[in-house]
Symmetry: C2
């Protein structure tokens, strides 16, 4: 349980002996807030090179240098699963992002739907939230987050080789089989709190690459449905098997 207390996402390459410059916000956090001095250890990851133990070689108020010493965790890449979700209230959208990082998705894609009831999604804040979630849970991968895009436009350009599992609350209670195969590209689609409109439902029902799936007999909130669906997909087709 001992070891470095700080775990930081950086953009630079990591590797044995690699020097990593830290600037501005990160320098302030490490050297002023956390009061790390020369010789202190931190954990670094960048989403590509795994996790590294690094040592502070220079520490100033506005910049510093860390040097990588040894890899402490191999790079994990999640299965090729995208999570398409309609933004909900801020706290619950944050929750979807955080839990998707832990459970392991490759990409987060916010979609707008008719009944969407959410403030404007700040993409930069959501991406920062994903990075923070990864820093805190020990993940080595941070899924990218796309710009919000309308569901109909996304469906119009969809590659039919990637099956969309549509968590359809109206089918709650129907049988629980999920079509599909391990390793195949996939996506999960979660609607807004008010559900999809009849027109949106008809569109989804008409598409061969969309498979409606049920998540038990009870009504789940959007963020709960997102988590449960990712969990079930991971167990059936992802890397939890």
């Amino acid at each position: 349980m001992s070891g470095p207390k700080v775990r930081l996402h950086v953009d630079q390459p990591l590797g044995e002996g690699q020097a990593v410059a830290v600037l501005e916000g990160a320098a302030n956090y490490l050297f002023a807030v956390m009061r790390l001095g020369t010789g202190a250890e931190v954990l670094l990851f960048n989403g590509r090179d795994g996790e590294w133990r690094a040592r502070v070689a220079e520490a100033n108020k506005r910049r510093g240098v860390l040097v990588c010493e040894a890899q402490t965790r191999r790079q994990d890449f999640p299965p090729d699963l995208w999570l398409l979700f309609t933004p909900v209230k801020k706290e619950r959208t944050n929750f979807i992002v955080e839990k998707a990082v832990e459970l392991g998705v490759a990409r987060l894609m916010p979609v707008s739907t008719r009944r969407m009831n959410a403030e404007r999604l700040r993409l930069d804040k959501q991406q920062a939230h994903a990075i923070e979630a990864a820093e805190q849970c020990g993940a080595t991968f941070v899924p990218g987050i796309s710009d919000l895009q309308p569901l109909d436009r996304l469906l119009a350009g969809w590659d039919p080789a990637r099956r969309i599992y549509w968590a359809d609350e109206i089918r709650a209670g129907s049988d629980g089989t999920w079509p599909g195969a391990p390793g195949a590209p996939a996506a999960i689609l979660i609607g807004p709190e008010g559900g999809f409109t009849p027109e949106e439902r008809a569109k989804l029902d008409s598409l061969d690459f969309v498979s409606p799936v049920a998540l038990g007999p009870r009504i789940l909130r959007a963020e709960t449905a997102a988590l449960a669906a990712v969990t079930l997909w991971q167990r059936s087709f992802g890397d939890w098997a």
Copy 2:
């Protein structure tokens, strides 16, 4: 999407023509905050008789009477699954309670462990939180919450016919089979953020009724593990099949 806007948990019996007295806090909420007057409709549930549409017959500041008209949802009873969890920070404990209500567990049992790192658990607040979660998500059942009890005492008195699935983060990455059978009494055990101590692990490993289970290759926070484990159990042995 129209219909009554207020959904309220009550303690009294519900049935056709049944009058339900509302007092104090509930009366204030219905008649002052929500400004419902005579003739307005609400939804009621009590965890036993399903959900009923009721109409306001009398509305005063401090008391009122509702009369049940028709059942709008049958009573749902979740499978016989208990969730044993070590309380974490307040917001995340609330989250465990809320999501357990949605996903369907019969009972919530907070357990204390050596590395527990949480404020004192207020049982009344947690029970109120469970009721509020049920009111908001449309559930008709509210799981009871036990008093916090030490894990070792709980294990000492455990009925071995109820299998405990121990979500063991150290086994992350091991194979994903869960022993068990549909409909059998079961419990899920989630440890504290710092994990169980070696002594606690040895104890759990020595018990025939405890089955360690893995939740994928990535590290999950306690509340995420709770949700994922309940989801997987529901799909394999509960009422999501």
